[in-house]
């Protein structure tokens, strides 16, 4: 008797192939446009170096701020039950789905010169955030932090809390438990969240251009430079694009085991 496997649904495979091609083609299109031999010279132009350096600095700051504020936020969402927790979580995760431009507009009316908080920052401390590098960092943090919160919260929820109990019975107060048990045990989740947040910050465009503007050397990050240079110096734009693409591939590789599963 011959064993017959299930029939392969060829129609579904065909449609899947079209879907795959739709995602793969732009990547191929970009890579085949890269002037590999001149790539280094292109990246050494003033606009490119300024944009790359600014992107690196701002995205690292945004990642650091996301970790600093995101970890306690994730901890509160995972461990403290209070009325309205689901509303707070929804607000924290909103930047994941809100168009970044809308986020930029919101930042403008919160921290801009006439903004909710911004007017007092200006009046009392003479601090003007709009069109500053700080504004870039804020815009990037706004879009990146939810990635960190969602990942760390999941790690905290899936952790076996009895290890924290064990630490408490050994004389560890809440802060010692957090430092010596909880944080080390969720470290893989924290690293994954930070990597995702960093990748998101690096690619930030809409909120940045809306809230921080597009000033070379001060607020013009790599994605903004790519958009502008595509008209005047397309080869530099392509070079910068491929750098961003390479970074994202590296982040995916880092998260391979956690997010993409085996195989």
């Amino acid at each position: 008797m011959s064993r017959r496997g299930r029939r392969t649904p060829w129609l579904a495979v065909l449609v899947a192939l079209i879907g795959f091609a739709f995602i793969a083609l732009p990547i191929i299109g970009l890579v085949q446009q890269v002037p590999w031999r001149r790539l280094w010279t292109d990246l050494e132009t003033p606009e490119a170096t300024a944009a790359l350096r600014l992107s690196l600095i701002c995205s690292l700051w945004a990642t650091a701020l996301s970790v600093l504020f995101g970890v306690p936020l994730a901890w509160v969402l995972a461990r403290v039950s209070f009325p309205g927790r689901s509303v707070v979580r929804a607000i924290v995760l909103l930047p994941l789905v809100v168009p970044p431009v809308v986020g930029g507009v919101g930042l403008f009316y919160a921290f801009g010169l006439q903004g909710l908080v911004g007017q007092y920052l200006y009046r009392w401390f003479d601090i003007q955030l709009t069109y500053s590098t700080a504004a870039v960092i804020m815009a990037e943090t706004f879009v990146a932090m939810p990635f960190l919160v969602i990942t760390v919260e999941a790690a905290l929820r899936s952790m076996d809390r009895r290890y924290e109990d064990a630490a408490a019975t050994l004389g560890a107060g809440p802060l010692t438990v957090a430092r010596r048990v909880t944080l080390p045990m969720i470290l893989p989740g924290l690293i994954a969240g930070a990597a995702l947040a960093w990748a998101r910050a690096l690619g930030e465009f809409g909120a940045t251009i809306t809230f921080a503007g597009n000033i070379q050397g001060r607020t013009q990050t790599t994605p903004l430079a790519v958009y502008l240079l595509l008209q005047s110096k397309p080869e530099v734009a392509v070079g910068l694009s491929v750098v961003l693409l390479a970074v994202c591939v590296a982040v995916l590789a880092l998260l391979r085991e956690r997010w993409l599963g085996a195989g």
Binding site: T169, L170, A172
Partner: protein, 349 residues
């Protein structure tokens, strides 16, 4: 120096109301079926759960009174060995053992020295640098005990300390644990559902059913007069201590029990009352262990009767009321007991 507690606690469907006490140098075993509230009781004592009502008093200090006073776990002089040990996977074995001292403010170097010394006493000096996942079950148990006792707590709580081990490792680890418990000066509270652990490790049993203490006393007391069918089922086995000599176990009375394979050394031989038959005349047949005794007591428990037979091989038989009537059994009657060698289970102690 003692522990005195009345713990009233509602948690989900569990309604716990238990009174218990323990004295220095004493091991109390808390036995009960799943869901009886054993672990909850331990968690309340450790301070991982607050009690609703009652009082937990340790060496005269109130640590929880269900109202104003609640001493958090990190400030109670209590060590816990958790069910699956819960050794911190990201720390080395040495750092695990040093954790308690470090948390209580001992300097790193001093804490590590003490931890290393304690590991050496447990015969695990060569494991100090390894990670917990590299340990065998028995080694993990010893590390967990070393970690829990490093801060010299007054009360040691052990939650099913042998449940995580496979059957083949249990006997040796149980013997180990008995020696280690004896060297711990404070009070010991052991949660288990295995009557053999209780028989081998505890001075006194406390049996918990549905959140209530149904019986307490020494193993001999409780197994002699089990107060509920569950207790009879749990500790109603006849346990005979003796020396294993290959194919038989030598009892203190001089009599011996034939068994398939006893091994050697000090052992407990367990005989379930269901596998003991009673005869008015000496039976002939396949059972290898046939001895004469005198009926000590007859008790009805549910739908069966427990007959206690005293003699060179003291045993309990569980038979039907009809059999009692037919054989005309009363206290003082001389009877023959018969047990198949294959119905005797032998455990090293």
């Amino acid at each position: 120096m003692s522990l005195a507690a009345r713990i009233v606690l509602h948690l989900g469907s569990l309604d716990l109301d238990v009174e218990l006490r323990a004295d220095d140098g004493e091991t109390v075993a808390i036995l009960g079926p799943n869901g009886a509230g054993k672990t909850t009781l331990l968690r309340a004592l450790a301070g991982l759960l607050a009690i609703d009502r009652g009082l937990i008093e340790l060496d005269g200090t109130i640590v929880d009174d269900g109202a104003r006073t609640f001493v958090p776990p990190e400030h109670r002089p209590i060590g816990v060995v958790f069910q699956d040990y819960l050794l911190f996977p990201h720390l080395s074995v040495l750092e695990n053992v040093a954790f308690g001292l470090r948390s209580r403010g001992t300097r790193r170097g001093v804490a590590r020295q003490a931890a290393a010394a304690s590991l050496a006493r447990s015969g695990l000096a060569d494991r100090a640098g390894g990670k917990p996942h590299e340990l065998s079950g028995g080694q993990a148990q010893r590390v967990a005990l070393a970690r829990a006792t490093a801060t010299e707590p007054r009360l040691l709580l052990l939650d099913e300390p042998l449940a995580a081990l496979d059957q083949s490792a249990r006997g040796a680890v149980r013997r180990d644990l008995r020696a280690q418990l004896a060297s711990f000066a404070g009070m010991r509270l052991l949660v288990t559902h295995d009557p053999l652990d209780a028989a081998a490790l505890a001075d006194r049993l406390l049996i918990l059913e549905h959140g209530r203490v149904v019986q307490t006393g020494t193993f001999a007391d409780v197994s002699a007069k089990p107060r509920s069918p569950y207790v009879a089922e749990l500790v109603g086995v006849s346990l005979l201590r003796g020396i294993a000599r290959g194919d038989h176990v030598e009892l203190p009375s001089g009599a011996s029990l034939i068994v398939p394979d006893a091994g050697s050394g000090e052992v407990l031989a367990a005989v379930h009352p269901r596998s003991v038959s009673l005869h008015r005349e000496q039976p002939t047949g396949s059972p290898r262990n046939v001895t004469m005794g005198r009926i000590d007591s007859i008790e009805q428990l549910g739908d069966r009767v427990r007959v206690r037979v005293a003699g060179a091989v003291p045993l309990v038989a569980e038979i039907t009321p009809a059999a009692v009537l037919e054989l005309e059994l009363v206290e003082g009657t001389e009877v023959w007991t018969a047990v198949k060698a294959t119905d005797v289970t032998v455990f090293p102690v």
